[in-house]
């Protein structure tokens, strides 16, 4: 099958509403995920991706419901397994635009073992992590990105486990595209999503997406977020790491972006190496075992 093609918006003009499904979101009013969802509609429309060419795989949590709200193909998986589903989908049909979506629990706790391997393979998918620093669907337990000292029902004396730094992790895993957005800044998020969708390789996109019910952080993040320095070189991985380490300023934008052979490309190379251009013949294999 051909690799995904960039669809010319001139052939058919799509609008955000073309990607809105009949299923009504179950998120709380004001949830950051609404901003992520509408940005996603807009990104697909801007790129002119036909709904049937987009596939979204998810895990469990508030984020897990995301595919049902998009008029596209979707796979609502079990907890933590969005990346394996997306990997299989992409390899079976590389012409598709494949996204995985998850929350901070899905991506960094139960599914945390899959992120480095998706990055290692450079599987050509977009991974959108809606980070609200809390388990929202289970009504407010600390998550892997919750700050130290967070007092919740499951941490009544304050959380004693240090938060992970998702951007730093993605850079350490050598993801070929690493970016961060904030759901309260949807225009920026749309642009980041478009870059991620067009990136040939594993695109990791963390989106700060506050939970208004259990961890309302809108004001906090409005204060500490700022754009990455204008002169930041997106191919400078160690500089990107330094910026990701900054605890006073939370930078938004593209930290890192390089071109490397995607998994689709590498697997194709393996195929031609294996076959040497010869037609597959099962009888030849069986003949090796004849007496």
């Amino acid at each position: 099958m051909p690799d995904r093609v960039v669809h010319e918006p001139t052939t058919k003009v799509y609008t955000a509403s073309d990607y809105k499904s009949n299923v009504k979101p179950i998120w709380c009013p004001g949830c950051g995920d609404f901003g992520v969802l509408s940005s996603f509609y807009k990104a697909l429309a801007d790129l002119g991706i036909p709904p049937e060419q987009a596939v979204i795989a998810s895990g469990i949590g508030c984020s897990g419901r995301f595919p049902a709200f998009v008029e596209a193909y979707g796979f609502h998986g079990v907890h933590g397994r969005a990346l394996p589903l997306a990997t299989g989908i992409k390899m079976a049909n590389p012409s598709l635009y494949v996204c995985a979506v998850g929350g901070d629990g899905d991506a960094f706790s139960i599914g945390g073992g899959h992120v480095p391997h998706a990055a290692r393979r450079n599987i050509d998918i977009t991974y959108i992590v809606m980070d609200n620093q809390i388990y929202g669907l289970t009504k407010g337990q600390p998550s892997p990105t919750s700050p130290l000292g967070m007092e919740k029902k499951a941490s009544p004396y304050g959380s004693i486990e240090a938060p992970l730094n998702p951007i730093l992790m993605a850079l350490a895993y050598n993801a070929s595209f690493v970016a961060r957005g904030f759901s309260a800044k949807p225009k920026e998020v749309v642009e980041l999503m478009k870059m991620a969708l067009l990136h040939k390789g594993f695109a990791f996109l963390q989106i700060i997406s506050p939970c208004v019910t259990f961890n309302d952080t809108y004001e906090h993040f409005k204060q500490i977020t700022l754009p990455l320095p204008a002169d930041h070189d997106v191919t400078d991985r160690s500089r990107a790491m330094t910026l990701a380490l900054d605890e006073q300023n939370m930078y938004l934008g593209v930290f890192y972006k390089v071109e490397r052979p995607s998994y689709v490309t590498s697997v194709r190379a393996v195929r031609s190496k294996a076959s040497g251009g010869a037609q597959f013949d099962l009888e030849k294999i069986i003949a090796r075992y004849r007496t």
Binding site: A57, G88, S95
Partner: protein, 600 residues
């Protein structure tokens, strides 16, 4: 050359010889066995092998056993006719299993066994012979040469096999190996003057076209997957399933397929499900510990109605257990594993040969019924090399899943989980215009939208399980759904599953020869069980024996629960396969108690 009858055993039905080779890991024991097995097979004989691999990564004791016959052999053999001991440990471990009057062949540079009345002993100075040609590593090949002479196998075939099996390692090494073969052969010719009682009687002259294959269960299964049109495999390394992945790693890219070594078993099944969702015929293979980890996704595949094939090459547990020992301990896990109820199909191959057909059946059923299909193989089947008939390609058809077409739906809105009489709903694939839907692990309506209404849940649960009924109706019509063997009007029946079929068959042959009316009933499909056929089989019986390689008696429990009948259980949980003798003795005991009761 009929086998001298052991007093404790009924007469064997085939002329056959069981040879065991024991030595230190690294001495080429398995190579010796495999090369010898192929020489015998190429010479027209039937071969059945068995091996144990040490748990240690390097070093440790290795055993290779080979049963050779002029007729097909179906089990490993009850007692040893010949023991080849490379060292003292091999003698200590295995000599007690050498039958009275058997042959001991030993490296007299390594050990000096006591003379035993009636036992034939052949001393082979393997170490010094190998050193004599400055090729110490080649003492296993020297042993092969000697055994070829002792067995009366054709030397030209032996040479051809050594060239074929060991030729890839370079011309110099091959020359050395051929020299070692000759040294061993010549030594036996000149020094073993006693008439060897196990000249195998290889047919003289040109043989006709040979349609047999020599391979292992894992090889047969992987070839079956290719024949079934597998285009996607993801797996995580685990003994004894890894060589399925290694086989497909070499072959799948040639069909334009994809093989991914996943980061864990959840990823492996998740990837296979994703690929299947997008249209690939997808598979993963693992062993019990890996299937444990996959169970959540197994339910998810069933709930989302995603076709996928999962191979469980069973090994002895529980927990890490004995990774290199065999077991049939995962039946409950395969048939019942998971929270709440969901349909899955389970097929258990009966033999190395059947591993091929089980793979073909599994793919076709997964695609047609849009659900996970588990293949229950086991360690013994997976790695033993044996002679099997060539595959019958007329049994290989590729059944395609029911795809949705825009015109056939009647209206504009595609309903992925449309409630149908068969339970099967037309499936769209990403890329199809108008066919978009979300495969949903939550309970869902026909469109895939989540919903928790009591009526909806009832309807969808019944819809999913209706597919099993439809599948059962189809499988019932298949000629190979059930393996039946033995007396047409049995008084004692053996109900079993999987690789126990081989020793059960030989046990029945012996019981029939003794005049006992015994028959076997082995369903290849354990989910759904062929209940009507099983019920009809057991109804007239005086007693039912269920032999299983597990502690609890898992199939026995299932049958007892369904049919409320008494079961005579034969459970072996040593990590080894059944011998025919073990099953025969159980038949004889049950028969004498329930069919010909001794007067009190």
């Amino acid at each position: 050359m009929t086998k001298a009858a052991d007093k404790t055993m009924a007469p064997a039905v085939t002329r056959d010889v069981t040879l065991r080779i024991g030595g230190e890991s690294g001495e080429g024991i398995v190579t010796t066995g495999e090369v010898l097995a192929r020489i015998a097979a190429y010479a027209g004989l039937e071969v059945y092998t068995l091996r144990t691999i040490p748990a240690e990564i390097k070093g440790g004791h290795v055993m290779f056993q080979m049963r050779v016959g002029s007729e097909p052999v179906h089990s490993e053999g009850d007692a040893l006719d010949i023991l080849l001991a490379f060292n003292q440990e091999a003698y200590d471990k295995h000599h007690r299993e050498l039958r009275a009057g058997g042959i001991l062949i030993y490296d007299n540079n390594e050990l000096t066994p006591p003379a035993i009345a009636g036992e034939i002993q052949y001393a082979l100075p393997l170490t010094s012979l190998a050193k004599g040609i400055d090729f110490f590593r080649g003492k296993n090949i020297v042993a092969i040469g000697a055994l070829v002479k002792i067995f009366g196998l054709p030397y030209d075939k032996a040479k051809a096999v050594v060239e074929r099996q060991l030729g890839r390692r370079g011309a110099d090494l091959l020359a050395k190996n051929l020299q070692a073969l000759e040294v061993g052969y010549t030594y036996a010719e000149q020094n073993i003057t006693k008439e060897a009682p196990y000249n195998l009687g290889v047919p003289e002259g040109e043989r006709g076209a040979d349609h047999r294959l020599v391979m292992s269960g894992n090889q047969a299964l992987a070839i079956g997957a290719l024949a079934a049109g597998c285009t996607f495999y993801a797996g995580y390394p685990i003994t004894p399933a890894s060589d399925i992945m290694e086989f497909l790693a070499a072959e799948l890219p040639k069909v334009g397929g994809t093989l991914i070594q996943a980061e864990d078993e959840m990823a492996a099944l998740g990837m296979a499900m994703g690929a299947s969702y997008a249209g690939a015929r997808a598979m993963t293979a693992t062993s019990g510990p890996g299937l444990d980890l996959m169970i959540e996704l197994l339910g998810h595949a069933s709930m989302t109605e995603t076709p996928v094939v999962i191979v469980d090459v069973q090994r002895a547990g529980p927990s890490t257990g004995m990774p290199t020992k065999t077991s049939q301990g995962d039946l409950f896990l395969a048939v019942y594993g998971g929270h709440d109820d969901f349909p899955r199909l389970v097929v258990a191959p009966l033999s190395v040969e059947d591993c091929f057909y089980a793979a073909v059946d599994a793919f076709n059923l997964a695609e047609k019924y849009q659900m996970p299909v588990i293949i229950l193989s086991d360690f013994a089947l997976s790695n033993r090399v044996e002679t099997i008939p060539s595959f019958d390609m007329s049994r290989v058809q590729r059944v395609q899943r029911l795809l949705w077409t825009a015109s056939g739906d009647g209206d504009n809105s595609y309903r992925r989980y449309r409630v149908t009489e068969s339970g099967i709903s037309p499936m769209s694939l990403p890329g199809m215009v108008g066919g978009s839907y979300t495969a949903e692990g939550l309970e869902h309506d026909e469109t895939g939208a989540p919903g928790y209404d009591p009526e909806l849940h009832t309807t969808m649960m019944e819809k999913r399980f209706r597919k099993v009924r439809t599948a059962a109706d189809e499988i019932r019509t298949w000629p190979h759904a059930i393996w039946r063997y033995g007396h047409p009007e049995p008084e004692v029946g053996i109900v079993g599953w999987g690789s126990t079929a081989g020793p059960a068959r030989e046990a029945i042959d012996r019981a029939l020869a003794d005049g006992m009316k015994v028959a076997a009933f082995f369903p290849r499909f354990l989910s759904p069980l062929p209940e009507a056929e099983l019920s009809a089989f057991v109804a007239p019986l005086k007693a039912v024996i269920v032999p299983e390689l597990n502690y609890r008696g898992q199939l026995a429990d299932i049958i007892q629960g369904r049919f409320c009948m008494q079961i005579h259980r034969l459970n072996k949980f040593t990590g080894q396969a059944f011998t025919a003798g073990e099953i025969y003795r159980k038949i004889a005991a049950v028969y004498s108690e329930w069919v010909v009761p001794t007067s009190a």
